[in-house]
């Protein structure tokens, strides 16, 4: 399949067209269709490529395509003294891991594109095209990241998705909080990227190549750094810093909850399903490196599980429906890193995939709820939406069961796999992960209970005949599409005193050119089910959230063992390296015959096989925990809502701490941010006083020198010239008196002269 390079380029093309032409002149329909077509085409290609990949024998499942040369061939001395050459290409590689990611990105990306055509329908025309341009651009970069076969191509994607994340979080850029959130995400990511870039530099200086395969193969021949913190550990910790930024782990997770300022499809695509998993993907891509640095693995596991626990506990008390999901995402990403850290790479990647399905589903569901509520995001103003939003309710409920880990939904299999591996690796991590699982079940059911059950707590609406309206809407539509630049900015939001408001609300207020479809509503007519382009992706994702787990049914249930684990395994192990000098040839060396030994050696010390009995026991226990969490949340928020209030009052301190997210933002503000600002101000003062001072001083010196030289010129040179002139003038003033003009004077002088000469002649001689 030599056309895999087309998969990223198609959305890239869509972004280019929409960006260059669409924003100015495409109608909503054209822009939406263009973006969706590109994604569908990419999805089709990805499916074809994936099927072809499956058709290959398990050991050699990989396609390598080099699109073009990037950095031309440079001869260089290798680290072991031999001579080789170095080149970087725009190379793409499809192997099991990237194949899985490819399907996730194109599949969920396509669904979210379709969803967005309806969700964003109330945006002004240019903004609509801009949104789809960004969305396509994001898919382009994400696919580059996933498909790149070396660190540099991955880095292009890595930075590109960061850029798109920034653009899309700040999509409603007139809103201060949105543009601030975009900046926060970008800057926080920058800290992580700094680590990532340093890690890549170190990889280059150690291995002399950027190619993933070559690096993994070379690393496989190096000793495992069990006891000391060596060069591989340094590389891994730096790469992990990059992963913490991109994947929102402690200490760089703060941007993700704020990123919810972006439109909800963006949160679903970027901040739940794809971009934030890039860090997990990157760790998985470098599994061999990481498994050679057990100390870093330990750090990864600890950071992962702590993030999971912390984010889950914050999620317990949030009221903004999207923020609950955001903290849930952070928490689930923590799970993935826990899995990576305990050496269960395929379990982590498996959870990545299932999480992509159910979290995208939950986010899109929350978008549907927000849409239904006319922009309301506070769960305290919702309730009893079950009867208004049946499809959304059912699909979100499926998502909740999946994330809580109820069998047979997908989350159960992946989370159970992680818990089992954590149990085998480290009991303390397992305990924390189980607590997190309990919290996950609790806050997710809390979300469902507050949103869909109980009494309706939202604003009242007029029972106006919604059908009187389409005529008006059509009339307005006939008046031409261009939306005057949002004159009704946030009026609706202010009127309803929303805690969080965004463009949806505004658009609903003045809406109108949305046109027929029976969906038009000037004033808000109460909660209503979303249009079909939104519900169909929900249903598709719900199916995914149910069935995605079946590829990873564990050995305890199915004797053949987890299918996805076998499928992904080649991506996490090095090929057998014939020459010790890895170089570039190793990449083309696609004979993985004796791979197993290395795999065993790499993962041997972490792979503790669990007996089937223990595995069943763990499974049962985690299901019990999940059901316990759900039942507790049901008691607190559905059957006896007053209990939760009483508890919140009873433990007011803890509640406040959690509501304020452990004051981490305040801590960062007080230390890092104000420190940076202070040092910036200090540097500015240094700049102004010392640097500018030096410049000004030198200019002063020059001027002084010039003044001195001018003085010399005037006084000495001009002085000499003037002096001579003056001398001549003065002397001639005296001597010209000789010229009396009287002939007899001259004659007298002549006489005296003659007399004098004669006297001299006579006497001096």
């Amino acid at each position: 399949m030599q056309y895999i390079w087309l998969i990223p380029l198609l959305p890239g093309l869509g972004a280019a067209i929409n960006g260059l032409v669409g924003i100015r002149s495409f109608s909503r329909k054209t822009a939406g269709y263009l973006a969706c077509t590109m994604m569908v085409a990419a999805l089709g290609l990805a499916l074809v490529a994936f099927v072809q990949l499956l058709g290959l024998p398990a050991e050699s499942r990989a396609f390598d395509v080099t699109l073009a040369q990037w950095i031309p061939v440079i001869p260089q001395q290798m680290h072991d003294g031999s001579y080789g050459h170095f080149e970087v290409t725009w190379g793409f590689r499809l192997d099991p891991l990237s194949g899985m990611m490819l399907l996730v990105v194109t599949g969920i990306g396509t669904l979210i594109h379709i969803y967005s055509t309806a969700y964003m329908a109330d945006e002004p025309r240019g903004g609509f095209a801009r949104f789809f341009c960004y969305l396509n651009l994001f898919c382009f970069f994400m696919l580059m990241l996933v498909l790149g076969n070396n660190f540099l191509v991955m880095f292009v994607g890595w930075e590109g998705v960061g850029l798109c994340s920034y653009l899309l979080i700040g999509y409603w850029y007139e809103k201060k909080s949105a543009s601030d959130a975009g900046k926060k995400a970008f800057i926080t990511n920058r800290v992580g990227d700094w680590g990532f870039v340093l890690g890549v530099f170190l990889i280059y200086s150690v291995f002399g190549t950027f190619d993933f395969r070559a690096v993994q193969n070379a690393a496989a021949t190096m000793p495992v750094e069990t006891a000391h913190f060596g060069i591989l550990s340094a590389i891994c910790i730096l790469l992990f810093v990059g992963a913490t930024g991109k994947s929102a782990q402690i200490p760089l997770y703060v941007w993700l909850p704020d990123a919810m300022e972006g439109p909800t499809p963006v949160s679903a695509l970027i901040h739940a399903a794809t971009m934030v998993t890039a860090g997990v993907y990157m760790v998985g891509r470098n599994a061999v490196l990481f498994s050679h640095a057990p100390m870093v693995m330990q750090i990864v596991a600890i950071v992962g599980v702590l993030t999971a626990l912390m984010a889950a506990s914050i999620g317990l008390v949030q009221y903004d429906i999207k923020r609950v999901l955001a903290y849930s995402t952070v928490s689930q990403l923590g799970y993935m890193f826990t899995a990576m850290g305990v050496g269960a790479f395929s379990a982590g990647a498996f959870h990545l995939m299932t999480h992509a399905f159910f979290k995208a589903l939950l986010f899109l569901g929350s978008g549907s709820v927000i849409h239904a509520m006319g922009g309301e995001q506070d769960m305290r103003r919702m309730g009893a939406l079950k009867k208004y939003l049946p499809v959304t309710f059912v699909t979100m409920f499926v998502g909740t069961l999946a994330i809580a880990g109820i069998p047979p939904f997908s989350g159960f299999f992946s989370k159970d796999e992680i818990l089992a591996q954590a149990f085998a690796h480290n009991k303390a991590i397992w305990v924390l992960a189980v607590i997190t699982a309990f919290m996950t079940a609790f806050y997710m059911y809390r979300l469902i209970a507050m949103t869909f059950f109980g009494a309706y707590r939202g604003p009242a609406w007029e029972h106006a005949a919604a059908h009187a309206h389409p005529a008006d809407a059509k009339l307005a539509a006939a008046h031409g599409a261009p939306h005057p630049a949002d004159p009704h900015a946030h009026g609706h939001a202010a009127q309803q005193d929303h805690e969080v408001s965004h463009g949806i609300a505004d658009a609903h207020a003045a809406h109108d050119d949305h046109g027929g479809g029976g969906h038009g509503h000037g004033p808000w007519h109460g909660p209503h089910e979303s249009p079909r382009p939104m519900t169909i992706p929900l249903m598709a994702l719900a199916v995914g959230a149910v069935v995605a787990g079946f590829v990873g049914i564990p050995k305890a249930i199915l004797p053949s063992g987890s299918a996805i684990e076998h499928f992904l395994e080649p991506s996490f192990t090095a090929e057998r390296v014939v020459e010790s000098n890895a170089g570039l040839q190793a990449r083309r060396e696609s004979e993985p015959a004796g791979r197993r030994e290395e795999a065993a050696e790499a993962e041997g010390e972490q792979e503790h096989e669990l007996s089937t009995g223990v595995e069943w026991g763990l499974m049962g226990f985690s299901v019990l925990v999940a059901i316990g969490g759900i039942l507790l949340a049901r008691t607190f928020y559905q059957t006896n809502p007053e209990i939760s209030e009483r508890l919140a009052e009873r433990f007011a301190g803890a509640h406040r701490t959690l509501s304020n997210k452990y004051y981490v933002d305040e801590l960062y503000n007080g230390t890092v941010i104000s420190g940076t600002m202070a040092s910036g101000r200090g540097l500015w003062a240094f700049d102004r006083n010392v640097v500018d001072g030096a410049v000004n001083g030198s200019s002063w010196l020059t001027r002084f020198g010039a003044w001195l030289s001018g003085l010399t010129d005037r006084a000495l040179v001009d002085g000499a010239v003037n002096f001579i002139g003056r001398l001549i003038q003065e002397s001639s003033y005296w001597f010209r008196r000789v010229q009396t003009g009287l002939v007899q004077n001259y004659a007298l002088l002549m006489l005296f002269g003659v007399f004098a000469f004669v006297s001299i002649y006579l006497f001096v001689r």
Binding site: Q744, A747, L751
Partner: protein, 100 residues
């Protein structure tokens, strides 16, 4: 007996008178005449020494001087005439166009 000394004294006297005339008189015609006196004082000298030394060169010189003096008188009188036509005066004190 008339000795060269007498001639010398006559010549010196004429010369002094001539110089004094050139120096002191204001009328340019008279100054001119005084110059003639000086030239003739020189001529007396030349002729006297020529006769005393029995050498004719002195005579020849005297004749030369007379010829030159005649030419000089002609040119000088011409200048004076031209001057007089312009200035209506022959006072030498007013001939001071060249002063500073």
């Amino acid at each position: 007996m008339i000795t060269p000394t007498h001639y010398m004294m006559l010549s010196a006297a004429l010369f002094i008178i001539g110089v004094a005339g050139v120096m002191m008189r204001r009328n340019i015609i008279i100054i001119f005449m005084s110059i003639e006196l000086i030239l003739n004082a020189v001529n007396i000298n030349l002729v006297a020494y020529s006769s005393q030394q029995q050498n004719a060169v002195g005579q020849v010189f005297a004749i030369f001087v007379i010829a030159v003096a005649a030419a000089e008188a002609a040119v000088g009188l011409g200048i004076i005439l031209a001057f007089y036509r312009n200035k209506e005066t022959v006072n030498i004190d007013e001939m001071n166009l060249m002063r500073w």
